[in-house]
Subunit: 348 residues, 4 copies
């Protein structure tokens, strides 16, 4: 098989490193280059020590980038849209992992990112990168914008309900517990271990950018009334998302099971986790590190019309690099699970 030549732009961060780990074991991929301005010329294993002996690649600078079949962009927010014309000269296909092209609506972008979009004309050309919602569009796409990690966990958890139109007009409250790798590899006073270890920080009570993605994807027939809050806990990888939605009708758990099965029955990376006994009854990101699964469970309050939906992912996998590779596989006609079969560890 002829391999696709692929480069990673912005490869010294956590998402870039995770992408590199996956692609090194992808049988149809040849990694051409991986860039880092600060580390150009150095071994990638200095930043990604888990890959020692697996690769002897060195970082390139962005200006050394050569033409290839596909580019993954793992740049800080704002840089993809600024340099997108340059990247398009290098590769016919692009998967962007930043937030720059996730919102189709320019006004929404400006509201949530609090700045103007540099390249609004391109927004419509990017397919939003959750395969479970946009698989068909991905097959013919040239540009994919990989979804935000918190957004992915919330959207996958709630999509079957909004799709079926069973959510009432009462506000839905979405609470995410996040790990510290979500904030990236840049250190600061707040990420200093003695301050961060054991800490619980509600870093975004409201106004989180991923809210825009949630609204966009769940507003299927009508605008949704969702409220999102994110809290960082003492965890490196993982997102645990609890959504409280108030249902229209008096649905029972069997009805809800049907909706989830209908939406996700054949999905390779969605697992419904809802057991009656044992210690692993509901989704927990603890067992998802390194895996591309999104585990979803739900419980109906017997006293009210509230449904509690719990979804869990590894933010660097299904929330970033893993989902990007899943999209990559779809986009290029490979088996969707290629390079993504690692099931996670237990215990860990």
């Amino acid at each position: 098989m002829d391999k696709l030549s692929v480069s990673i732009v912005g490869g010294s961060g956590y998402t870039g490193g995770e992408l590199l780990r996956l692609l090194l074991f992808h049988p149809a991929v040849e990694i051409r280059q991986i860039t880092s301005e600060r580390n150009a010329g150095k071994l990638v294993t200095r930043q990604h020590p888990n890959l020692r002996t697996v690769t002897t690649l060195k970082f390139s600078s962005m200006e050394e980038l050569e033409k290839c079949d596909l580019l993954f962009l793992c740049l800080p927010h704002g840089q993809s849209m600024e340099k997108i014309d340059f990247f398009r000269t290098l590769a016919p296909k692009i998967i962007d992992l930043s937030g720059d092209f996730r919102l189709r609506d320019t006004a929404a972008f400006e509201k949530w990112y609090e700045k103007e979009h540099v390249n609004p004309g391109l927004l419509e050309d990017f397919v939003y990168g959750i395969p479970e919602l946009h698989r068909a569009e991905m097959k013919n796409a040239s540009f994919i914008s990989s979804a935000g990690c918190n957004a992915t966990s919330a959207i996958l958890g709630l999509y079957p309900l909004y799709k079926q139109g069973v959510v009432s007009d009462q506000p839905s409250v979405i609470e995410v517990k996040a790990g510290t790798s979500q904030a990236g590899a840049s250190f600061n006073e707040g990420s200093h271990h003695p301050e961060r270890s054991g800490a619980i920080r509600t870093y975004k009570p409201f106004g989180h950018r991923h809210t825009g993605e949630i609204i966009q994807e769940l507003s299927i027939d009508k605008p949704v009334n969702v409220h999102f809050t994110a809290t960082s806990i003492d965890m490196v990888r993982g997102i645990h998302c609890v959504s409280h939605v108030f249902l229209n009708d008096d649905l029972n758990e069997k009805d809800i099971w049907k909706m989830y099965r209908s939406a996700y029955g054949d999905e390779p990376f969605i697992r419904i986790v809802k057991e009656q006994s044992g210690i692993h009854r509901l989704p927990d990101p603890k067992i998802l590190s390194g895996s591309n699964y999104c585990d979803i469970g739900f419980i109906k309050d017997t006293d009210s019309n509230r449904l509690v939906v719990i979804s869990a992912i590894d933010n660097l996998m299904k929330g970033a690099a893993g989902q990007a590779v899943q999209a990559f596989n779809i986009m290029n006609g490979f088996d969707e699970t290629t390079a993504l079969t690692f099931p996670g560890l237990h215990p860990v």
Copy 2:
């Protein structure tokens, strides 16, 4: 000063141990006895190793209990109401730390505890043990029922809003992140370290018993519409409570400040934590271990009428033993902060 003679019934668990730690340093208290059926005759320091050299007390069995001025009951739920008549023959004053006498209404007890109350006639005689709401009644009380830990964090966070009647009819969603000491000293498969370390378990999506206390205390003029979910994370002590309430009027943060200041301005153990910058902007249980503070902060969503209220406590202190000692001080005319001045550690 003549010391009060005090005994602790059920002293081998975490709440009993914390109470012992506090009372050993209380200048007006002489600890008469501390009971444990399983450990009778053994040094208390076998169960509470932090108290080595501080005390040479040994556990007694319950049947060895002698008369004293006041009894603290730290028994498993259900035992206080069964043995309360016996305990009343031993001491004129009782502070119960179980859930048996927290709900004034028998029907509410049966709903939330799913069993009949053995001694419903006494429910009215117990003062609900949050001093910030019931200080006046405590001063003349013979019986105090110390509040549930999750309930304390939620009630203290929301009380000023419900008292002022500014919460709308839309559902309030309360999410608690809890530590593992909350479940007590009994071990099981789910508390096994390899399974529990790093785990996130939504152990009560709905139906948590403390919900009954929250409803009772916040239904000031009218019944409240609250929804409570509890999730255990990898933490030993501490509760982090995020409440999402939807306000009636278009109140701004200044208005809300006034309500909190009016409710808690002179409270020795409430701190409003709401800073514009720095890494300690909102309440975090990390710095509360061993302290009796309840830290409270809030943020108004600029896009909607949602107010996010964050409250944090040490579940074994303001959520149990500390709050019981605070009530004890009020009940007996001591300075309310006696034996409770430890401010917590940073970093830790």
Copy 3:
């Protein structure tokens, strides 16, 4: 390719689960059965939730075991030697992961295990399961006894030095920091999360059974003078082993490099980790979870003849299931790295 039919005896524990995870992705293996007396008839995913949707296997009881090509034994210590004759009727090849057949010398077994060996005649028939030391014997072996986890980390760290005969007669001190998965899936008071989280327990100051393996494997020309201590810290997976050895001659780091390169130059699962700068200068089990690597580093004290050797592994992988699969591959003529290429995660 015809697949080997393989069964796992004792599959509900952590080692059995890890072995199952690896073998499910081994292209030349068909898993015939996996046993658990307590869970017979139940889905394996109840115990190993990471494998949900990966397998629909159910546990069998031991008496249901059928003939197969090879048996992995993951039983509690003592059971393999008691039932070995039965197992030999089921399969021509056996890999035992318990301690029963690790020591070749009966007297050594009795000293370290403090009981008699039931089947001492078989001790000589088992190859000690560290491939880096016994690869040649493994190729023709019918029976392999997989090495102890702490022993593996210590032996691999020190083998090049003892092989070259450069260690003096002064005592070598070996200190292991261990995770809680090492003690297995059985819970007890000491593994209760509130007690175990953040704890540091020197559980074996001396007398650890793995010491017998270390002595056996490192006593190449003469008896070694080693002293072993194991301390459990707040970690689930991983072993960090620091060995202090006092060298005979005034060797410099270059000389030592040569010894390690000569011993391990072509080893697929040994990495020498010894960098001059950066934050990943020496081996750390943090990045090894799920991988089969043993990372080794060393530093020479410039003031004395002490060499500090640091070795790190994942105790369930290179310390148990991973090393067993590595031996399995050698024994059966497969590429040694088959099913073992997962490189570990960073950050995690």
Copy 4:
């Protein structure tokens, strides 16, 4: 009682904050000033959020310092010796918590600190700050140099053995497991939470400055042969020190008990922790956070002359601020335990 007026120089770090916490509750102390160049004019509670509502102190700059009765110096290493003449004009008594005046011998200072001492003439005037070894000298001292945290744990663990002359000439190996607060409040790439959480870093295989203190204090009759290694684990506070010493004679555990009892029998902050059963058999820093205890235990290898000594402290308390206050109490004739009675928490 007339209060002593005391100032803290260098109060924005972890040691300064811990000292402030202790002194705010010391009945004989009035805190005059606390300095921080970077935070001058700001509330101390910005850096030390646990002290909110406990104090309304603001930081001063060093040049604003006024005369007082006693100065605590919590400056980065090197600054105390440079500015000591200035500080002596401000206060007749000084307790320095840096490493500048710990070594009495100029050559030793230069060896371990790899630079020249600016004020070697003063080295003899400082009393080394471990009360258990130097209480008598402290009573009349003007200058005390508080001991290093790792050094304190090692010295207190081994002092009775070296004092009795029972340690052989074979090398003693001392291994410290340290928390991240030891490295102070300055953040860097290595202290970034995703990198530091769960990590095990042997940051000083040899050459740690505290080795100089250990050698100085334990070389009672003859030079000691000690080898020190420090490894940082995922813990904020706490030191767990395992010392392996090889004894001269065939001493049994009773003999060793006697030595420890004779050395420490009346010490208020030393506890011998050595139980036959239970889960708290040996010292563990987990239960020492916030307390000034040094817990010490030991086990004799039944197979050799090795004694394993385990000592545990809170590095910010008995390893820094607590021990400094203990010395302060002795120096000024106060009860030695004043402001130091907090016993630590369990569980935590």
